[in-house]
Amino acid sequence: MDLKVSDYTTDDDLTVINVEGEIDVYTAPKLREKLIDLVNKGKYHLLVDMEKVEFLDSTGLGVLVGGLKRVRAHDGSLELVCTQERILKIFRITGLTKVFGIFDSVDDARENRKKQK
């Protein structure tokens, strides 16, 4: 029920953030702090893995949008891994599928990143 957030950085300089649990008005501050913290440490290419997210509300969306704004200020990127229909639906309803790159797996996102370089 609560939120677990952890991260690691790949050798191609992508920081993957694993999020597990419910991202809601109660737990979103934790994710927000993590994103701010990473940007402060100079990590500007973020990939949020949402596969273990059980619940996401608009507060969580707001935090992701906020993170995107932060990394963009440094020419960075914030992309998502998400295949769960119930979570994707929320991005779709709010039109945010057009704002975030959404991938089926961490590997897909890394592949895409290599292509763009």
Binding site: E22, R32, F55, D57, S58, G62, V63, V65, I93, T94
Partner: protein, 148 residues
């Protein structure tokens, strides 16, 4: 209570101090009562999310303007609809006008764009009504329910 309640409608009402943690309690209760009220399993996710959004919005409004006042959620288990009414006590706060001007940018970010919350509610509830009255904002949402 609102005048439109049919006499045989069973209701559950939850009031809570405006704290984010209680939004979870509201989600929990709304989902449980909806399930028992005959709302289909496939719709319960929508009930959970929409009720959470409406409560998050009310909690945020109360925290800024009247932290001592509770937020109210009424669950009406009617004949063929399951209805949820979330009421805040922030007078003349026009929710659809988009954002409260006094909010610090950080808090606004944290709580999401208010319109995102409304977008979610509008996208999920089968039927939504938002009314802004002198005593507060009332969001009424409903879903079909089967009785057996």
């Amino acid at each position: 209570m609102a005048p439109e309640i049919a006499p045989r409608t069973a209701t559950v009402e939850l009031t809570f101090s405006p704290l984010p943690v209680h939004v979870r309690t509201a989600r929990l209760v709304a989902t449980a009562v909806a399930r028992r009220g005959g709302v289909e399993e496939t719709l319960l996710d929508e009930v959970r999310l929409a009720v959470g959004e409406a409560c998050s919005r009310a909690v945020e409004a109360h925290q800024q303007q009247c932290p001592a006042e509770p937020v109210r959620v009424e669950l009406r288990d009617g004949a063929d609809r399951f209805e949820v009414v979330v009421t805040d006590r922030v007078p003349n706060d026009d929710p659809a006008a988009g954002g409260t001007p006094e909010v610090s940018p950080d808090l606004a970010e944290l709580n999401g764009n208010l319109n995102l919350g409304f977008a979610v509610i509008a996208g999920l509830a089968d039927d939504v009504n938002i009314s802004s009255t002198p005593s507060g904002v009332e969001i009424t949402m409903s879903w079909p329910a089967k009785k057996d």
